[in-house]
């Protein structure tokens, strides 16, 4: 059955090409949404017609739009995302600088979300329709409905302003000082993590309920295995597959959430990069960041699908 698995993965890879093409067209067209002449916007304060004409030629703005797209995508494929107009640095360099910070935040957030979401989800499935189940559901729904930037502000109010336990903002790299790095990132990671913990909890709960009602769990119980082994070893192993797939998809939510969270906690990551670029009208950076985010998300999606195909025993056997 190896063949089927490879075929499925191959099919998925082929589907990727048109998606990536459309993503690139979308991102390229963003700059044509701008009211007015992009060359004038790029020139900023500069009003000298010679300079503006030079910009127009340099970026190919005087050429037909399909040619402009071809030039742009050619550069992108060669790893050239353009140059930040404000910082005069290649966008790819900025991305490489800021991405690790956001990845650190996202990984911490994902760990928090999985621990919170999976344990509460499993417990509320086991104690279905109990008071505990009700409380977990209400808290989960409240978590989904809380704007995470407000949660961030409230946490700063409590832990930094009132209790003084944690710094309100700033960032220290883990390679510099691990303790301080954790102190500066724990609040934003928690804020980001809770945003998806609710979603993970809901999915874990329904997957676990399904698993607990299945025949193999009944068999395991009939064999006389302890309830603990049945729940945590037998049921959970099967219930977790969809949850892990979901986790990969939720990385997109984390990247979205990072935009505001990094803004609130003044963390110099990917999210702050895009916001600063938006306000400085540094459009090449905005396009570059959106492109990298979308590509990362698509690749994660692909990995999740491949993981799902590989984990499915019906296809593997």
């Amino acid at each position: 059955m190896e063949g089927i698995v490879l075929q499925l993965i191959g099919k998925r890879l082929v589907q990727l090409v048109p998606t990536l093409f459309f993503v690139s067209v979308l991102i390229f067209s963003l700059q044509h949404l701008m009211p007015g002449d992009p060359a004038l916007v790029m020139a900023g304060e500069e009003r000298d017609p010679v300079v503006i004409e030079q910009i127009r030629q340099q970026y190919g703005l005087d050429r037909p739009i399909p040619v402009q797209y071809a030039m742009w995508i050619g550069n992108v494929l060669a790893g050239d995302l353009g140059e930040s107009m404000r910082l005069k640095v290649p966008v790819s360099e900025l991305v490489a600088q800021k991405l690790p910070v956001t990845i650190q935040l996202a990984v911490m957030a994902m760990l928090i979300a999985l621990v919170l979401g999976v344990t509460t989800g499993v417990l509320s499935a086991v104690k279905r329709n109990s008071a505990w189940d009700w409380v977990v559901n209400v808290v989960g729904l409240a978590g989904i409905s809380t704007p995470n930037f407000w949660l961030g502000i409230m946490m700063i109010l409590l832990f930094a302003v009132h209790l003084g336990w944690l710094p309100a903002s700033g960032y220290v790299s883990p390679f510099e000082d691990l303790g301080r790095s954790l102190a500066t990132t724990i609040m934003p990671a928690f804020v980001l993590g809770t945003a998806i913990a609710g979603v993970i909890m809901r999915h874990t709960r329904s997957a676990m309920i399904q698993a607990l009602d299945s025949d193999y769990v009944r068999t395991a119980r009939a064999k006389g295995l302890s309830e603990r082994t049945v729940v945590w070893k037998h049921a959970m192993r099967n219930a977790l597959t969809p949850v892990i797939t979901l986790g990969a998809l939720e990385f997109g939510t984390l990247l979205s959430g990072a935009v505001l969270t990094e803004q609130i906690f003044s963390i110099p990551g990917f999210g702050k990069l895009i916001v600063d670029a938006v306000f400085n009208r540094d459009y090449a950076v905005v396009q570059g960041v959106v492109l990298v985010t979308a590509t990362t998300y698509i690749v994660l999606n692909l990995l999740a699908d491949i993981g799902y195909i590989l984990a499915n025993p019906r296809l593997r056997a």
Binding site: P18, V25, L30, I153, A168, L255, V259, L260
Partner: protein
């Protein structure tokens, strides 16, 4: 001979039980039995009323500054306190409901106006049209919601109208995909085949026979998407890409509150609470509607 025409048959004891209930009426009856959904419906109506009646119920002008009342804590004169230039927080929260609700509802209407027809076409026509729309939807869904909305709002220019357009465009693929899926399911149903068999034109089948049957899940999705759109508007306004000063919006109020957390925490608490309650209400209402409109339920 059927029972109904049997001679001398007595009227059934509960004649009403035989009357066919309209789907809308049945959904409403089922929704009414859910206390959480009804409570959230009431909350939504209260927020809508606040937004509509803002000029009459707000105690102060939401933009009136008062240098003698800068950052005053909640009191009898100002129930929710005042902000950094002495504006009444309660009045601004009430007026802020306008921006939030308008953004929530209008952006979802934009998404539905674009997404439902495209989804109908994709599902009904199939073939290349469907494949092209499918890849476009994939591409848009591949860009995280808020990042796409920020990028669109940034390129369109910062104001509330553009924020609504940005959120609406970003939410469109959700409706394309949902409508398409529903249409594919409905297409093979007997009533659609019957409509086709008696010679109805395609547009008539799509609009008269398929569309009404795919509407309930779209209505549920619309309610839940309003919740997402309210958060998105607050996020964009927080970043300065939505409602522009001095007009209030919950997101922009939180932005200025952040600078005075230690001195005036109430400035941050109440607008955030307003967003939370609104979003929660739409989420609970959406969940309730889903259960009430589920044809498998009773």
């Amino acid at each position: 001979m059927s029972l109904a025409t049997a001679p001398g048959r007595a009227t059934p004891p509960d004649a009403d039980a035989f009357v066919i209930e309209s789907p809308g009426r049945r959904a409403w009856r089922r929704l009414r039995r859910r206390p959480a959904a009804m409570a959230s419906l009431v909350v939504v109506l209260v927020i809508v009323a606040c937004a509509l009646l803002a000029p009459w119920i707000a105690p102060y002008d939401p933009t009136a500054q008062s240098w003698s009342a800068v950052r005053k804590a909640p009191s009898a004169a100002h129930w929710l306190g005042t902000d950094e230039v002495g504006r009444d927080v309660l009045s601004r929260v009430i007026w802020g409901a306008r921006a939030s609700l308008a953004a929530g509802v209008i952006s979802v209407l934009i998404a539905m106006a674009a997404g439902i027809p495209l989804g109908l076409v994709a599902g009904y026509v199939g073939g290349w049209t469907d494949a092209a729309l499918g890849r476009l939807t994939d591409a848009m869904l591949a860009i995280p919601f808020l990042i796409l909305a920020i990028a669109l709002a940034a390129f369109l220019g910062p104001n509330l109208t553009n924020a609504m357009i940005a959120i609406g465009v970003t939410a469109t693929p959700i409706f394309i995909r949902l409508t398409r899926g529903q249409v594919l399911a409905a297409r093979s149903e007997e009533w659609v085949e019957a409509a086709r068999a008696v010679g109805n034109p395609h547009w008539r089948i799509a609009l008269r026979h398929v569309l009404p049957n795919v509407l309930p899940p779209i209505l549920v999705q619309a309610t839940l998407t309003i919740a997402t759109a309210v958060i998105a508007e607050a996020s964009l306004s927080f970043l300065g890409l939505g409602q522009q000063p001095p007009m209030p919006s919950w997101g922009s109020m939180l932005n200025s509150a952040q600078r005075f957390l230690a001195q005036a925490p109430w400035m941050a608490v109440f607008p955030g609470l307003a967003i939370f309650v609104t979003v929660l209400a739409f989420n609970v209402l959406g969940d309730g509607l889903r259960d009430a409109l589920d044809p498998r339920g009773r």
